[in-house]
Amino acid sequence: MNFLSPASLFLFGLAIPIIALYILKLRRRREPVSTLMFWEQLFKERQTTSLFQRLKHLLSLLLQLLFLALLVLAVARPQFAFITKSARQLILIVDRSASMNAVLNFDPESPETESRLDSAKETALQIVQGLRFMDEMSVISCHTRPIIHTPFTRHQKTIREAIESIEPTDIKTDLKPAIDLALAVAQTKPNPEIIILSDFQKISEETLADFQNIQSENANPDDDNQEQKRNIKLHLLQIGEENDNVGITQFRVRKSIVNAFDYETLLSVINTSDEEKKCSVELYFNESLFDVRPYTLSPGEIKTEIFSNFTFEGGELKAVLDIEDALKTDNVAYATLPIRESITVLLVTEENPFLRNALAVDEKINLTVATPTEYEANTQDFEVVIFDRYSPTSLGDGNFMFIYPPNSDTPPNIGTDDSVATWKIGEEIETPIITEWERTHPILQHVQLENVLIGKAYAVTPPPTSKILVRSFEAPVVFVDVTPKRKIVFAAINILESDLPLRIAFPVIMANTITWFVQGDKIEEYHLLTGEVLRYKFDAQEIEAVKNKLPQDETVENPQMTVKITGPDDETWDIPIDNDELLFDQTQLAGFYALTLTDATTEENTDTDENIEEENTTDDNGFKKLWAINLASETEASINAIDGIEELVTETELISGSSFFRFPPWIYLVFLAVILSVVEWFMYQRRKID
């Protein structure tokens, strides 16, 4: 036995005044009585020997000395080796994935809203209640990645606060990283125990095998790793029961196949229950209902539907399943419809009616036609510039398409950026035949190039950084070259000597090219799954707008640029911008996330109504980006535990209540001292002791 505070043992010296005070004789009160004969008789019957009297006297002294000894030992804080050695190191893993938001015991008639996560936290707190005083616990929560809420600590208040701080998320489940982390940590501890609180609705086979290996006593003893894992106690505590659920597993917006300037929305709904479910899907645009579709889903059925021909744009699209089930998170899905802005396109050509007509057919293209002479004389900013059989002498940043440029040894001077690759035009090729093309590339989507007749083309040598889209037997025909500041599409064919302009593929290619130049895959960037990192690259104009919002403080040389992100619950984050790029990883809840500029002038005094008014009317130059974050997970929609886990789930003594060694020894000593004082008081009152 050791003492944490051995100096306190000097308090045993207090025994001296106790003994001294005890030696002093008690002064008795004088009480006259009419006769002593009854008292004499009484005390004659109970006549105690002087030895017993002394013992009785001594017993009182001993009780007081024992009381002092218990208190002094308590203050000295003794430590017992056997308790220290038996101390456990518990790693508590709480699953907080989307399925843990399911109502614990779902009943459509009952208003109960306690979720599986609430139950898991309650169970976790019960486990903390049963910890022995030397036990350490670390709290980890997980969805797709683990988060350590507290490292190993014995401080139960800290552990409880860590458990209380676990918030629900709409992220899908992946226990493996958390388990790997826990195993790695546990193998460094003498008595590790891992407790997993989860609904176990999705576990990989590898993880399941890990569980079995840890729990199996027949692990291979020759395997050192297995040997270490065998020393780890694993407690799997299943939270929640089997419940029905219908959920949206996909809700995505993409460009229309038939019209590059239209949108299509893909919606998938799954019924994971064992009985047929009837529900309806309500579609809202900016919170206004515009469509309702009734669904009847047989058990396990996935129904997929595509919505197209949207007449609106630039807003929030929301799909809501009108059904009462255990998990409400996947009953709503979100999407954004970008604004279909006009694209300024400059066509530099002497004359090409095919090109002009192909570009003019789309009302979203703001086409300007110029001759090479006019182009050289007045260079304006256009989002896309198409050079038809012409090559400028210099080229700035932007999006350019070269169609059969003049045969020149040197491509246009493209500035001082040496990193920009160049192409080299070789000999002319007669009637090349297209042999292969990249069907999956956005420019060539929905395009058929078989048997296209081409009169003339160049044997072009594309730069190494380029990507060849169309190839003939002899040489590449079409390639793209993308650099950070420039996108180039190069077509080495003379379309005036080809039947391509007469094919349907031609306007499609042109539309795809314009869209690829301007928007590329951006529509996909605004649709993420919960837990994914939101990335956004600011252009120069946007960066300038952010800088204008910075406080005008000359003492700060390089003030940190920040923008504001507003989440689904109106929670806001101020996110710094590094290298003109935004990274945001708090996409834990499904919903819309809006990116706006931080107004520094109003942020400092947001308490006054005047400032709030000012903030609401702040002109952000219309800068607002909207992301739709969805759970959209088929595995998460299945909220029932996987097969095979029930054999591993065991009743554990961890939540059976408090253990004897829950408190440090000094508390028991104080408790004993209190009991002793009560006994002493009782005995004194009963005159068992003097």
């Binding site: 008795r28 004088r30 006259p32 009585v33 009419s34 006769t35 005159r687």
Partner: protein, 295 residues
């Protein structure tokens, strides 16, 4: 304890007259009139018959009976006599115990009973006894002697210890005629009460015991460490008293009283026990109702 407290005041004297009137009513319902003697003598109350013997007075022969039975029978009549009532008042130091000292209470009881006795033309004698003083009032008769009685009682002071045997021994030797002995005492004699009472009983006295106790003697309210002081001997006894001691004390006290009750019952001694908190007139009426004072 208030030793200067007078036992008799004007209210007390009024109570005496009231008690006498009440006692007459009670006796009227029970034993009709004055005290009767067991001796046969001359009076108007027929007692018995006996056979005529030579020398008997012819006037008492029942001639009617002779006519019917042809046998000479002599009629016997009860002889009337005045009664001697002796009050033995305990004047030991223990009688000073209590908020209302037992001695004051004893004096009042003695005075009340003496007044009633004098009113009934009985002869009253009072003896105060303890180990140091044995003051005595000779036998008096007549209601007019009540003030003599009261003065005597008023002058009794408590001192010394209780020794019943010694006290009664002196009493017997100074009292030739038998009578009713009214003993008023707490009977706290360390040597016991039986020897003294036996002595009185042996002398053919009718015995009436008034046992006076204080409430604190029956149920002491003592817990803790004390030096108990015997008020008679000033002896000190260091004790530590707890609840079990108190309970045992009460058992012992009850046993003492039970022994006294049993003793008196076996020897046809009238006994009345009272606490000083009981109003003395209530005690007097109780005595009359139980009938022990007048046999």
């Amino acid at each position: 304890m208030n030793e200067t407290q007078s036992a008799f005041d004007s209210d007390f004297l009024k109570q005496l007259e009231y008690l006498y009137i009440v006692s007459k009513k009670i006796f009227a319902g029970r034993i009709k009139a004055e005290r009767r003697s067991t001796r046969r003598g001359v009076s108007v109350e027929f007692a018995d018959y006996r056979n005529y013997t030579a020398g008997d007075d012819f006037r008492y022969i029942d001639w009617n009976a002779f006519a019917r039975l042809d046998e000479l029978l002599l009629k016997l009549y009860e002889e009337r006599e005045d009664l001697h009532i002796y009050f033995l008042v305990d004047a030991s130091e223990s009688m000073t115990y209590g908020e209302l000292p037992k001695l004051i209470y004893a004096k009042r009881v003695a005075a009340a009973l003496a007044y009633i006795g004098l009113s009934n033309l009985d002869r009253i004698g009072i003896t105060a006894f303890n180990t140091t003083d044995k003051s005595r009032l000779p036998v008096e008769r007549g209601k007019g002697k009540i003030f003599t009685v009261l003065n005597f009682l008023d002058q009794i002071e408590a001192s010394g210890e209780t020794d019943l045997e010694q006290a009664f021994h002196n009493f017997i030797h100074m009292t030739k005629r038998r009578g009713l002995v009214v003993l008023i005492s707490d009977l706290f004699d360390p040597k016991g009460f039986t020897a003294g009472l036996n002595m009185l009983k042996f002398q053919k006295h009718d015995l009436f015991v008034v046992h006076i106790i204080d409430e604190k003697e029956a149920e002491p309210n003592l817990l803790g460490d004390y030096h108990l002081v015997d008020v008679e001997t000033n002896e000190l006894r260091p004790v530590t008293i707890n609840e079990s001691h108190i309970k045992r004390y009460q058992d012992l006290f009850k046993k003492y009283c039970d022994d006294l009750d049993r003793y008196c019952t076996q020897r046809e001694i009238s006994l009345v026990r009272t606490m000083t908190k009981t109003p003395f007139d209530e005690l007097i009426l109780r005595i009359f109702r139980m009938g022990g004072f007048v046999t």
